[in-house]
């Protein structure tokens, strides 16, 4: 019988108990505390985030039912000016305008469909290109706006949403704008003598471009399949209707050479030759269509309006409208219209310009401006622009010559 310890068959190996070192406890307790604090912070941030969003949604509803004066400041003052003085030689004044006279029907109809043709106001003649608000303002908003206009510059008299609804119903077949003062005289002779409407230069009946837009080239993809039958765009696909013809032609050229990179537009643009690019540009420039853009990026509309109307001097961002024209209708030949543009496209384009810099000849200044906008700013301004009425159709023949 050996006394060797290994011979002990009954011995069960075990780990001796050693106390856990204190520093391990310290770390564990500190981490647990940190976790608890973080969870608590997050949950308050979460609930405050939800509360803030609900408040913003409420704000939006309130803004939607904003008083006529607010609507005027946001949608009309860029052209007609805050005091209704208009712009000499360009935008008719509202002060003392006969169009705000007795019959509210006239004002409602002008707001619903816009004007495209010469008009005489207060003894001066104007070219007359006013956008149609029918697709961006609802009946209630138009009623409040007209009430405000009549109270400020007309002869009073309230207009209600039912009246606007009836007016909208009465002219629902109408898709074009009113042909200047000559057309409006027939609605209400009280506006006084109006210049004759020289038959609108026929929307270029470029059947080649039309066929391209509707059917694509050689059975290829049609423009209309993504950009819509009336060039109104959708979500990330830009609105084309009312963009300057030269801008569209230049963009197609940039897509085909690859200076403006796009997997979708690249193969399409490479199929087109010079005259086809120009033809498509003219086709979309003269297209008037209702706005299909709606704010969809959760942008702060008030901030967007500030950026568009005044810019942000702290970040050295000039206002959008200082180059894209009052109300964002663009300036032919190369500054594109931005009003009623699809917000996802606007925000994405701003981000791309800010990130990649100059990608086509036209946008010389935009990269440095876009680079100074934050993500929230881009969404804000894109959403704000989506609330504006679309640019009236550009009559390329006369406007490009200016």
């Amino acid at each position: 019988m050996s006394e060797h310890p290994l011979a002990d068959e009954a011995f069960e190996p075990y780990e001796p108990r050693r106390p856990v070192p204190l520093p391990v406890y310290w770390m564990a307790i500190a981490l647990a505390l940190w976790g608890a604090v973080t969870l608590w912070n997050d949950s308050t941030a979460q609930s405050s985030g939800v509360g803030q969003r609900l408040a913003e949604a409420g704000d939006m509803t309130r803004r939607h039912s904003a008083a006529g004066a607010d609507l005027f400041a946001q949608r009309c003052a860029t052209c007609h000016q805050a005091d209704g003085a208009g712009v000499a030689g360009a935008v008719p004044p509202l002060q003392g305008s006969r169009f705000l006279g007795a019959n509210p029907q006239l004002v409602v109809q002008i707001l619903l469909h816009g004007i495209n043709g010469p008009i005489a106001v207060g003894g001066d003649r104007f070219d007359g290109h006013m956008p149609a608000f029918g697709s961006v303002l609802d009946d209630g908003q138009i009623a409040r706006l007209v009430t405000h206009l009549r109270a400020t510059w007309g002869n009073g008299g309230e207009v209600d949403a039912a009246f606007v609804k009836a007016q909208r119903q009465a002219t629902r077949e109408r898709h074009a704008s009113w042909n200047g003062g000559a057309d409006l005289v027939s609605l209400d002779p009280a506006v006084g003598p109006q210049p004759a409407f020289l038959s609108a230069p026929p929307a270029p009946s470029d059947s080649v471009a039309m066929a391209l837009a509707r059917g694509g080239k050689a059975g290829g993809w049609a423009c209309a399949a993504c950009h819509g039958a009336a060039g109104e765009g959708r979500s990330g696909v830009p609105r084309l209707a009312g963009l300057p013809a030269d801008y569209i032609a230049q963009a197609l050229l940039a897509f085909s050479t690859g200076t403006r990179a796009s997997d979708i537009m690249g193969p399409i643009a490479r199929q087109l030759d010079g005259p086809e690019r120009v033809g498509l540009g003219r086709l979309y420039a003269t297209m008037a269509s209702a706005s299909r853009a709606r704010p969809e990026l959760d942008g702060d509309l008030a901030r967007g309006a500030t950026l568009a109307l005044q810019g942000d001097d702290r970040r050295d961002v000039p206002s959008c409208f200082s180059c894209h024209g009052p109300s964002g209708f663009g300036v032919a030949p190369i500054v594109p219209a931005i009003a009623a543009q699809q917000p996802a496209y606007t925000a994405g384009r701003l981000a791309a310009l800010g990130r990649h810099g100059k990608d086509d000849a036209g946008a010389a200044v935009m990269p440095s401006v876009a680079a100074r906008l934050s993500d929230a700013d881009r969404r804000a301004v894109a959403d704000y622009l989506a609330t504006l009425p679309p640019s009236p159709a550009i009559d390329t023949d006369t406007k490009d010559a200016r």
């Binding site: 307790i29 500054v335 200044v365 200016r402």
Partner: protein
């Protein structure tokens, strides 16, 4: 069988040793944990605080930075109405002061951002530096005198419906001054404000050259102001980009017709949204190209261009009175037919 020494040290003693020590030990553990947590939080906050916004750098040569009040703080009531009307005149000059504007410009064409932007002759800085002696007319100038000069030269009042600037005491002056006064709210009077006037650029040994300027202009300016310098209008015919020369621009008596002023403005502000992106040399050359084009005549001219150049343009950096391409600059343009 079992080893008595082995069991004695390993199986029995730990339990025995820990007996009665659980409480102090857990207190040590908890206390140490809390201490560590507090320490880490302090260190973190300290780092966060230090990386926060740094204090603004001290101002150079004693100039004071100033920010005008936001538009939303214009008061209501009659004073506010006057300020608002002043701002409307500033932005929409050809409409609000229709009788006195003889070209396609507005005050804000050169005083960007409605006269708020530093380095584009902001009105808050102008307000606190008047009345002032000016060599241009060799007298003490009140703000109204200065504005009268703006309407005469920059706004080319000679071709306006009334044929000149607003008469003395016109409410246009009052409202513009009300707007400037409000813009300069809380600005120190007589002190040097940062961003006043246009920046002064040093001229290098290359000087300025209109042919080099033509290339700069074609590359950086023409897309907005047009190859012909006539700016651009929107579809309603409203001037969006201002005309830089010709009958619809400022006349030969304007400060902007001097190359040094135009160069400073261009350097700091052009292309719009990308200020300070051109080199000093490019700014000088572009200014030389723009200011060597014909524009409305100097309204002070009595006799010949040469006489007037000697009387009013001596020592200026200007092309006035020089002959370029067989054309004597300063002859003037015929006024545009009125809209």
């Amino acid at each position: 069988m079992t080893d008595p020494g082995h069991t004695a040290t390993e199986t029995e003693s730990p339990r025995d040793q820990r007996k009665g020590r659980g409480l102090p030990r857990s207190i040590y553990a908890l206390g140490g944990g809390l201490l560590l947590f507090a320490l880490v939080m302090l260190v973190r906050d300290d780092i966060l605080l230090r990386s926060g916004p740094s204090t603004p750098a001290p101002q150079d040569n004693g100039a004071i930075a100033f920010t005008p009040p936001p538009m939303s703080s214009i008061p209501n009531g009659p004073a506010g109405a006057s300020i608002r009307h002043g701002m409307a005149i500033f932005e929409n000059t050809a409409t609000e002061a229709r009788a006195f504007v003889g070209n396609g410009l507005a005050c804000r064409s050169c005083h960007l951002d409605a006269g708020r932007k530093a380095d584009s002759a902001p009105m808050w800085a102008a307000w606190v530096s008047y009345p002032q002696y000016r060599a241009k007319n060799k007298k003490m100038n009140s703000m109204e005198d200065r504005l009268n000069g703006c309407f005469s030269y920059s706004m080319n009042g000679q071709d306006s419906p009334s044929g000149g600037p607003p008469p003395k005491g016109d409410p246009i002056y009052t409202d513009l001054e009300a707007y400037f006064h409000w813009l300069a709210s809380n600005a120190p009077t007589g002190a040097k404000l940062k961003g006043a006037g246009f920046p002064k650029l040093k001229l290098s040994s290359l000087g300025y050259d209109r042919d080099r300027g033509r290339a700069v202009y074609a590359q950086h300016c023409a897309s907005c102001h047009g190859d012909d310098g006539q700016g651009r209008r929107d579809l309603n015919g409203r001037q969006v980009f201002p005309p830089l020369w010709g009958a619809n621009s400022y006349n030969w008596g304007a400060g902007m017709a001097q190359i040094n002023n135009a160069a400073g403005f261009i350097k700091a502000n052009m292309p719009l949204g990308a200020g300070n992106s051109l080199t000093d040399q490019q700014a000088w050359d572009a200014a030389a190209w723009i200011d060597s084009q014909e524009r409305p005549k100097d309204p002070r001219q009595k006799g010949s261009v040469q006489d007037n150049a000697a009387a009013f343009h001596e020592g200026e950096k200007t092309f006035y009175g020089k002959t370029i391409d067989n054309h004597l600059l300063g002859t003037g343009t015929s006024p545009k037919p009125r809209l």
